[in-house]
Amino acid sequence: MELIRLQGVDFAYDGRPPVLRGLDFSLSAGQRLGILGPNGAGKSTLFMLCLGLLRPQAGAVYGLGRACREERDFRALRREVGYLFQDPEDQLFSLTVAEDVAFGPLNLGLGRERALELVDGTLGKLGLAGFQRRVTYHLSGGEKRLVSLATVLAMQPRAVLLDEPSNGLDEERSATLERVLMDSELSWAMVSHDRAFLERTCQRVLVLKNGRLQG
């Protein structure tokens, strides 16, 4: 099943040369894609377009097989496809880890009990058991990264867009992350500068260059 498709998308930030030109991209359930590209090639921009955080100047975005134009159209898509931001500081806005992880599940309308189960389960899987009451801004960089992954996974998405997930993780944490991802049923698109990591974890690696994806 097709989760996301971008068709002939053009995008430029205000007053800057275009980043993406006629870009086509799709992610289906069961796919695991890696995306490589030089700095400033528009990798994060691509993800933001997929989830409606930015709107393309030309082209179309399809989510779950339906054309998405307005904020409303993207809401259903965001339940199915999570997004791990490049900077965990952007993602963790609550004071405690448990609250942050529970935020998504509560937004989905799951009750408190179920949300807390998901908090415990997800943190446990990521090797963060006992982190529930930790204060988010006192976590180390690597811990923040894993907790922000937990906030995404706790919503039980079908796919995730991962923006440099292994960045800033030590070997042990990086291995945990890889194991959790590989053991899951998730599909993903993953941006990284680490080609070896992409080749281990993805079925295909695409290169974003000159505003387009090349296989």
């Binding site: 935020f103 937004n107 919503m155």
Partner: protein, 267 residues
Amino acid sequence: MARPSPPAPRQATTHPLDHAPAPGLAARLDPRGKVVVALAYSLLLALCPGPLAPALGLGFSLGLAVWSGLGWRVFWRRALAVNAFVAFLWLFLPWRLGLGPAGGQITLSYNPQGLALAGLITLKANAIFLAVVALLGSSQINDIFHALAHLRLPAKLVTLFVLFYRYLHVMRREYLRLRQAMAVRCFTPGSNLHTYRSLAQLIGVLVLRSLDRSERVYQAMLCRGFAGTFWLLDHFHWRRRDTVFCSLGGAAILSLGLVQWGGTLWN
């Protein structure tokens, strides 16, 4: 809007969220009770016209400070900050400006009432400050925020507090990073135009970065299905010690009130 998530059944206290780390009795009390007592106590002392009740209050507050088990270090630095402001009152209040008999010339005369007023303010400020730090400082900051939300303070206000507190740390770190970046390029602040210009730039960059960050934080929240509701996870359990604490606090406040206004009521 902040809305409490459905309350947990009472027996579900085994969850780690329901247990706060508890060094002393003050820290284990329900923060809702402490917030209410601290507020009522501060309000009463602030309204007292005479020195007797505030002086007694200072005694109470000192007792609270010792009982809170926070250690004198916590109080010492804050006391210095509070009393630095109060010192200005001692400097300015005891003097009265007036016009001389001939007019035109300005006289400065000593005014003992001003001195009494400065003394009263010092008493009140320190009594309130000690009590508030002893009561609120012994809870974790997020417990205080939750208590405010549970006390039905407007949701937007609580959310604002929480986000402010959360991102204050991020901004401080960003500020320090920028200062370090300036320092490694041999920036030494002095009182010259170059310093003012550089510091103005630093502040400008901080503001811009914060704006960008707020945008990204909002986007990240949208990605997790944010639709305007902030959820409260922590729930407090009112215990007998909280009732005892609030009764004692209420009695203390009442007796201070009686000391201050009892005479007028009696007549």
